[in-house]
């Protein structure tokens, strides 16, 4: 992941294939690698906006204490879903994902502004 784009920008998979993504953040800002449909990404962007407003994501840093803060309705802002990773510059993590059926799938960074600036990639099914 770079500021603000992925390399590669598209990948090809077979339906049913399981892929291990080794994601490395080579940029100066916090970035996300998130696999899902465009609708899922749009919903997630609202959540990420809240993370920025509450100081969890601050440019090139993550505030880990804030991530565990109780928002008052049982939710926290821990970013621990299996289909995504949120990385500080220099960090590296893996995402293992099975692409069961064909669909409109993208990988995207939902940090506010990044998707709109073009930080997404296409998953093409063979």
């Amino acid at each position: 992941m770079y500021d603000n784009y992925y390399e590669p920008e598209e990948i090809s998979v077979k339906p049913g294939e399981t892929v291990r993504f080794v994601v490395e953040n080579k940029g100066n800002l916090v970035h996300e690698f998130n696999v899902g449909t465009p609708d899922m990404h749009e919903a997630h962007r609202e959540e990420m906006m809240m993370m920025v407003e509450h100081g969890v994501i601050q440019g090139g840093k993550l505030n880990h204490d804030m991530m565990n803060m109780d928002m008052g309705n049982g939710h926290s802002m821990k970013h621990d879903d299996p289909n995504s990773v949120l990385l500080e510059p220099g960090q590296s993590k893996e995402v293992v994902w099975k692409f069961s059926d064909k669909g409109n799938i993208e990988f995207a960074c939902n940090v506010p502004g990044h998707y709109q600036a073009g930080m997404y990639g296409e998953v093409n099914f063979e």
Binding site: Y2, D3, N4, Y5, N28, L29, H54, G55, G59, M71, G72, P112, G113, H114, Q116, A117, G118
Partner: protein
């Protein structure tokens, strides 16, 4: 414009081939048709605006400028880093270009992004002498798009620049038609109480000021790429494309609030430098500033680009559409903004203790709404109390607390603030400044004189800086107008409280009643202009010459500079 590329011969002589582009510009009398009126003005290569100059980062450019006017002219490349004798300011960079003469500018392109150029002689720029500069980067940009357009705004007035200056000197509110009305009196009375309203009018009357002094110059037709609202400049797109819009405000005096109904905008560049992407619904562009945004229209329909002047007296309008001839609804102008006492707070002699009976608790300050669902009082690290709240609860630390000028998005969404701008790639390491220079922005509206530290350009000493130092400029706005301060030749690192991520700009807007800081790494020798970019303010004296002493051979600034030159200049 005929680009001629010098290759071949040069490559035999040099070990590596140096990219070089040669361009020709003529400065001509032209006719400008705004749709509302036709007026003779000045343009480049037979038109106003002039051509879009397209350069490449890393190339050496050679620009031959032929003056076809019967008076001196000049071209200043706004925002470009170049040797001072190529900067185009008569009396500071060079003597100017004589009638009939061809002057050749030659300099390396050391940056990428969106910039602009304009005459720096007389009032030729408001008369039409401006154009755009687009510089292609060497490396990949931190954003993607499928097509791009320059969207260059100006405030074309039916009077020539010379005539406007003469009128302003005689009658300072000659062009300020938006006075408060009887109707406003009654509606304020019912909102704030009759006694409060009477006291308010009397207080303002005592000061001999109009609350409506948000804009000096009304009566203009807003143009986008040379076209008025009726002429409707249109940019075509295919639904699903990402479009980069290069907004440039080439006005003489007007700030515009820009929105595209139905489209969010993602701001990716400010003043030619990449910023961390910010999604907004609307933004305010100051005179001489640029903002690059990405939009992503998905539907097969037209969208209106609407640019309302800050004082709401006029507007500019353009369209993005899948086909020529398509139009979308054009919004109505919103109600004019009114200054409040908070905007006046910077002015000298404002003794609020004397204004008996003014209950600020009732006037102009709206309660903060919209913070539902969260108990913010418990959250550490957020000091909501210190942020300036305008109408509707918007915060903007770059406006006076209680200001009447804080912009709100027409659709209730996000309005860009300077506080949202963070550099994507800082140009300089963050370090402590070597000294601070205070510049009070001053003026006397009754005589239409504008100045810095109370002194007009012709009576002032130059500001002396030492090559290698880092100066922190403190702008204190003691007037009730907004001033876009532009330092030529070196970057202005605007202090938004983000340390190394402070955005890098060339023009910094200072709102009434506020103090704004910016820092400059003094790394370009020679002498440079430094002025308010409101054309009639600069001409009235809000201008300084900056002399940079020393050059690349000399050592870093010594601390005795502070003892000798510290304080007011």
């Amino acid at each position: 414009m005929k680009p001629r590329f010098l290759t071949g011969l040069l490559s035999l002589l040099m070990p590596a081939m140096v990219m070089a582009g040669e361009y020709d510009l003529t400065v001509d009398r032209v006719e400008i048709d705004t749709g509302d009126f036709v007026k003779e003005g000045i343009g480049y290569n037979g038109a106003s605006p002039g051509p879009v100059m397209r350069f490449k980062e890393g190339e050496n450019v050679k620009i031959n400028v032929t003056n076809n006017l019967d008076e001196m002219t000049s071209i200043h490349w706004h925002g470009l880093i170049l040797p001072f004798d190529q900067d185009g300011v008569p009396g500071i960079s060079f003597p100017g270009i004589k009638p009939g003469e061809t002057f050749t500018y030659e300099f390396p392109i050391q940056q990428a992004g969106t910039y602009w150029f304009h005459s720096h002689s007389g009032f030729q720029e408001p008369d039409g002498a401006y154009g755009a500069i687009v510089i292609e980067p060497e490396k990949r940009e931190p954003f993607r798009y499928d097509r791009e357009y320059v969207v260059q705004l100006t405030d074309k007035h039916p009077h020539s620049g010379d005539r406007i200056m003469r009128n302003l000197k005689m009658i300072p509110d000659y062009y300020n038609r938006e006075q408060q009305t009887v109707g406003e009196f009654f509606s304020d009375a019912s909102k704030n109480g009759l006694m409060n309203t009477i006291r308010d009018r009397m207080a303002w009357g005592d000061m001999r000021m109009m609350k409506a002094d948000v804009e000096d110059l009304q009566g203009f037709t807003g143009l986008i790429n040379g076209k008025g609202p009726e002429q409707n400049w249109t940019g075509l797109f295919e639904p699903g494309e990402r479009i980069r819009l290069r907004f440039i405000n080439s006005s003489a005096m007007t700030y515009f609030d820009i929105r595209i109904t139905g489209l969010d905008m993602t701001v990716v560049q400010a003043d030619g430098n990449n910023v961390q992407p910010v999604n907004v619904d609307e933004f305010r562009i100051g005179v001489a500033e640029t903002y690059d945004v990405i939009v992503h229209p998905k539907d097969e329909q037209a969208y209106t680009i609407f640019a309302e002047s800050m004082g709401r007296s006029g507007y500019a309008r353009a369209t993005l559409a899948p086909e020529e001839g398509m139009e979308a609804a054009v919004p109505q102008l919103r109600d004019p903004a009114r200054l409040t006492m908070a905007d006046m707070s910077g002015m000298p002699g404002m003794d609020h203790g004397n204004m008996a009976g003014m209950d600020h608790g009732d006037m102009d300050m709206n309660s903060s709404e919209g913070m539902s669902g969260m108990d913010h009082s418990n959250m550490e690290g957020m000091d909501h109390g210190s942020m300036a709240m305008g109408k509707g609860g918007q915060n903007d630390p770059f406006y006076a607390k209680g200001s009447g000028l804080v912009p709100t998005a027409a659709n209730g969404g996000k309005f860009l603030s300077y506080a949202d701008l963070k550099a994507q790639d800082p140009l300089y390491e963050d370090r402590e400044p070597t000294r601070e220079i205070e510049l009070r922005l001053t003026g006397n509206m009754e005589r239409y004189t504008w100045s810095i530290n109370g002194v007009k350009y012709e009576d002032a000493d130059p500001i002396r800086l030492k090559y290698g130092e880092r100066v922190r400029f403190k702008f204190v706005n003691e007037t009730m107008m907004t001033h876009p301060m532009h330092l030529h030749g070196m970057w202005s690192i605007l202090d938004v409280g983000a340390d190394q991520w402070n955005p890098i700009k060339h023009t910094v807007s200072v709102q009434p009643g506020t103090t704004v800081y910016m820092e400059t790494e003094v790394d370009e020798p020679g002498q440079w202009a430094f002025h308010c970019h409101l054309s009639y303010h600069a001409a009235a004296g809000m201008f300084r010459k900056v002399i940079v002493e020393g050059g690349p051979e000399s050592t870093q600034a010594k601390t005795d500079v502070i003892a000798k030159d510290g304080g007011e200049v």
